[in-house]
């Protein structure tokens, strides 16, 4: 710890002295993970005497330094991933010190999205832990002159079983450091019976700091002599500054200067939007200065974008044949044979992420290098983006990752970090760019608006003989390449080409849509609208057929089998994983449905007037989730959600308590989508701005209690951050139908009164 303080003060971090000179910061406020050496990206793990991998170092006092290389935005990945290493190392978690990695390719992928932190790093963490443990074991055997095979690890010690001798990790570290790093083939992993932490979990490493206000978020980063900036962005995507008042903002006390930021070169990717920055000596003054800029804009082509007319275009496209993304049998021939035909259209609006901490970054440019503290899900993307903007090598961009006050996908796109870097270079001072809530809502990378069309032919028992589905949405690919109008295999693999139903004739299509705003990843992404359509439609078919929703859903899923998705959907990507390791297994789909139904008392409880239950199931990010929502709807259409029952099969679960939290949170996130989530544009300008006109669920609107049931599984670990979201909205809307007879085919509910 003393080292830490020394290094921090050498760096000048948090030593700020501001205008009043009144700033006194105690050492306790210094967030440990923000430590940075002036010129070296080395970590404590690197500097420890034994450091067999980038992720771990062991000091002679027995301190185990572990590097958290994934961003912490609330999912506990900063805790859960190093915990795997600690387990395999047999380290005492109380003697572990975590440090947060800077952006550096030596850690592998650091883009904390796609619910894959544990999935992708379970094995690398085990290998790093087993490597260090083997070296310590070899060192102990050498010290005692006994065979390695007679030695084993126990909590933070190596034991020689025959003689009962013990040596601590700190005691062995120096000798172990002299040994060659063993090859992966030499490693022996702990049996499941010996796991200390995997499957039991640990509370967040930062829990106490968070509850006492000491935790350091991006918003809290501070450097001596830093300035604060707020940027007036073009109100329409692609807009340019024609003119602005350079002088008037300076009338605001604390405002220092204004700086124009050039517009992006299409496609926008992660480039700053352009506009005018106001630089001040505190955040509020920068906000106030913007009000006096009086910018005249050239709005450009997207000024004709209106959500009302765009919606009609999407819905019309969804009614026309699209690109075939998956085909089984011949739906046209089956429709021609007749049967009961059911059709439905669904529509979901754009959404904004609205993490509680708006986008924020601090940058310090000097001598051709820039050091950044950014609330980012992807520090390597910060490096690349900033390097591109400043024309410097990306090695000269050091990106530290403080805690994120939420992310939900927004903070995978580092446009705001690039703004900070540009402004620091322009002013010659450290600059913190703070986005207001209005900036966050109006200048997002939005979850795409979507329209879906569904058509099925039913046999006498109500089982579909044919099922056609078509989705239309401006794709995320439009952020990276111009004229991208169709979804790719990844977009469509999220709930569209992977429908696990037992239907002989099935076709999934996708129609084109142009983007007029920035489109981006949003917690669970395309699964949201795709699952809303498929799972609501399944419930509609159950009702049409006069069958129980759960019984019908299980019939649709059909017998236990492995679905070879790629055979019928060539572009299906299975979240980047091999289907042989992560197959789509309908036995697991069925099981979560059965658990959720049983735990909710489905079909066994008498529901009162205006009360009902609804179910939905979906596999996303390789995790199987079924959700039953229970609602009470009064005569005014007010919806209460007394309970949610969610069954989760995520394969091996490292941290069950954190997993439960993620699914509780997903239900609340889903509640926001259903109740009030809607972003619209008029003349290219986003109409919403803050939590008054873009409401998110509050404590009185959220589910009263979400019960989470985790399936005990030895299957490879999948994801937990996102998969709770997709089934929630259809489950809730199916429950509203059960309670009121009113079918919800469009969101948000605020626009479609839920009363019958």
């Amino acid at each position: 710890m003393s080292d830490n303080i020394l290094n921090v003060s050498r760096r000048g971090f948090l030593q700020g002295v501001v205008s009043t000179g009144a700033l006194i910061l105690s050492v306790r406020l210094v967030p440990e993970f923000l430590w940075a050496e002036e010129t070296s990206p080395a970590t404590y793990a690197d500097r420890a005497i034994l450091h067999p991998s980038a992720f771990v170092g062991i000091d002679t006092d027995g301190t185990v330094h572990l590097v958290a290389h994934r961003s912490e935005m609330g999912t506990s990945s900063r805790t859960s991933v190093p915990l795997i290493l600690a387990d395999e190392l047999d380290a005492d978690w109380k003697r572990v010190k975590l440090e947060q990695a800077i952006g550096d390719p030596r850690y592998g992928d650091q883009d904390t999205d796609g619910s894959h932190s544990v999935r992708s790093f379970y094995q690398p963490m085990r290998e790093a832990g087993a490597t260090a443990r083997l070296m310590l074991t070899q060192a102990a055997a050498q010290k005692w002159g006994v065979p390695v095979s007679e030695c084993h690890s126990d909590l933070h010690v190596i034991v020689h079983a025959p003689s009962k001798r013990k040596a601590g990790y700190g005691e062995l570290a120096a000798a172990a450091a002299k040994l060659p790093v063993p090859k992966t083939e030499e490693l022996q992993f702990k049996p499941k019976s010996a796991w200390r932490y995997i499957g039991k979990g640990a509370t967040s490493y930062d829990l106490t700091d968070i509850c006492t206000g000491k935790a350091g978020y991006g918003m809290d980063a501070h450097l001596q002599g830093m300035l604060y900036a707020s940027v007036e962005h073009p109100p329409v995507l692609g807009g340019k500054v024609k003119s602005y008042d350079e002088k008037a903002p300076l009338q605001v006390k604390g405002v220092k200067q204004t700086i124009a930021i050039k517009p992006f070169t299409p496609p926008h990717q992660f480039q700053p939007l352009g506009g005018v920055a106001v630089i001040a000596d505190n955040t509020w003054a920068a906000f106030q200065g913007r009000k006096k800029l009086n910018v005249a804009w050239d709005n450009g082509a997207n000024a004709s974008y209106n959500s009302d007319s765009y919606r009609k275009e999407l819905q019309a496209t969804a009614r026309k044949p699209g690109k075939v993304a998956r085909n089984i049998g011949d739906v046209d021939a089956a429709f021609a044979q007749g049967g009961r035909i059911v059709e439905a259209d669904y529509y979901l609006p754009m959404l904004a992420h609205a993490p509680m901490e708006p986008p924020v970054a601090l940058a310090d440019f000097r001598d051709g290098k820039v050091t950044i503290w950014a609330s980012t899900q992807n520090p390597q993307a910060v490096q690349e983006t900033v390097a591109g903007e400043l024309g410097i090598p990306k090695e000269n961009v050091i990106c530290h990752v403080p805690l994120l006050g939420g992310g939900f996908g927004r903070k995978s796109k580092p446009d705001y970090a690039a703004e900070a870097a540009i402004l620091s270079k322009a002013t010659g001072r450290p600059v913190k760019v703070v986005w207001s809530r209005e900036d966050d809502i109006k200048f997002g990378y939005y979850h795409a608006v979507s329209a879906m069309y569904m058509k099925a032919a039913l046999d006498a028992k109500g089982k579909p003989t044919a099922w056609l589905q078509r989705s239309v949405f401006p794709p995320i690919g439009s952020t990276f390449a111009l004229n991208t109008t169709y979804g790719d295999g990844g977009d469509l693999g999220q709930g569209w080409t992977d429908l696990p139903f037992d239907i002989p004739n099935h076709r999934a299509e996708n129609g084109p849509a142009e983007n007029h705003v920035r489109i981006g990843w949003f917690r669970s992404v395309a699964n949201i609208y795709h699952t809303f359509a498929t799972q609501t439609f399944a419930d509609e078919l159950a009702h049409t057929s006069g069958r129980d929703s759960v019984e019908y859903l299980l019939d649709l899923i059909g017998p236990a089998r492995i679905v070879d998705v790629k055979a019928s959907a060539p572009d299906y990507d299975n979240y980047g994983e091999s289907p042989s390791v992560y197959p789509l297994d309908t036995a697991r789909v069925r099981r979560v449905v059965e658990i959720a139904a049983e735990k909710s008392g489905w079909g066994k409880r008498k529901m009162g007037k205006g009360a009902g239950m609804g179910i939905a199931v979906h596999r996303s990010f390789l995790t199987y989730v079924a959700t039953v929502a229970e609602v009470e709807v009064n005569d005014q259409g007010d919806v209460k959600i007394p309970a949610v029952f969610t069954a989760v099969d995520a394969g091996l679960v490292v941290n069950p308590e954190a997993t439960r939290s993620q699914f509780e949170g997903a239900a609340v996130f889903g509640t926001s989508i259903v109740r009030t989530g809607e972003i619209t544009a008029k003349d290219g300008v986003i109409e919403q701005s803050n939590f008054d006109n873009y409401p998110v669920a509050r404590i009185n609107e959220a589910p009263y209690k979400t019960n989470v049931y985790i399936v005990d599984s030895d299957a490879p670990p999948a994801g937990v951050g996102e998969p709770g979201v997709p089934p929630f909205a259809p489950a809730l809307c199916n429950a509203i139908f059960a309670a009121t007879g009113k079918r919800i085919r469009e969101l948000p509910l605020a626009k479609a009164n839920a009363s019958s």
Partner: protein, 151 residues
């Protein structure tokens, strides 16, 4: 000059009298436990205590604070953890944690007024504080547990 007390220390402020307390705490005093979320008293992330009662610091100008006693999350407990903070830890409430300073300050204020709050009173007292991660059911459980120890 505006005299006030922050976390028990005498201060005097001579800057822009319209500056909201939030930015005085964060940018001037470096008390960053109090968070910026919306700037319009819509989310509660900036909640602090004025004379023991919860207020939204993002809409409270310095010129309204002459003689006020302000307490922030950093000083809400003089020795160790406040019982509400203890329950927040015991019930593992936070996810990202950004809103939790405000939630805790609001909950302490609520429990002062209503030592044994009902569900409706918890809803009423806490509905101004948004948690985008969705930790509400744990917030409710932690408040009830803290209230249990108010007996």
């Amino acid at each position: 000059m505006i005299p006030l007390k922050v976390n028990g220390e005498e201060r005097s402020f001579d800057g822009d009298p319209d500056l909201p307390l939030l930015w005085y705490l964060r940018d001037v005093l470096g008390l960053t436990g109090t968070k910026f979320g919306c700037g319009m008293a819509l989310c509660g992330a900036c909640t602090v205590h004025r004379d023991g009662k919860a207020i939204r610091s993002c809409v409270t100008s310095m010129n309204k604070l002459s003689g006020a006693e302000i307490t922030t999350i950093e000083a809400v407990s003089k020795n160790g953890l406040h019982p509400v903070q203890q329950k927040w830890i015991e019930y593992n409430v936070p996810q990202c944690g950004y809103c939790q300073s405000g939630q805790i300050m609001q909950a302490i204020s609520l429990l002062k007024e209503k030592p044994k709050p009902s569900d409706e009173e918890i809803d009423g007292g806490m509905a101004g504080n948004i948690c985008r991660c969705g930790t509400y059911q744990r917030i409710r459980a932690a408040i009830k547990a803290a209230a249990g120890e108010n007996a």
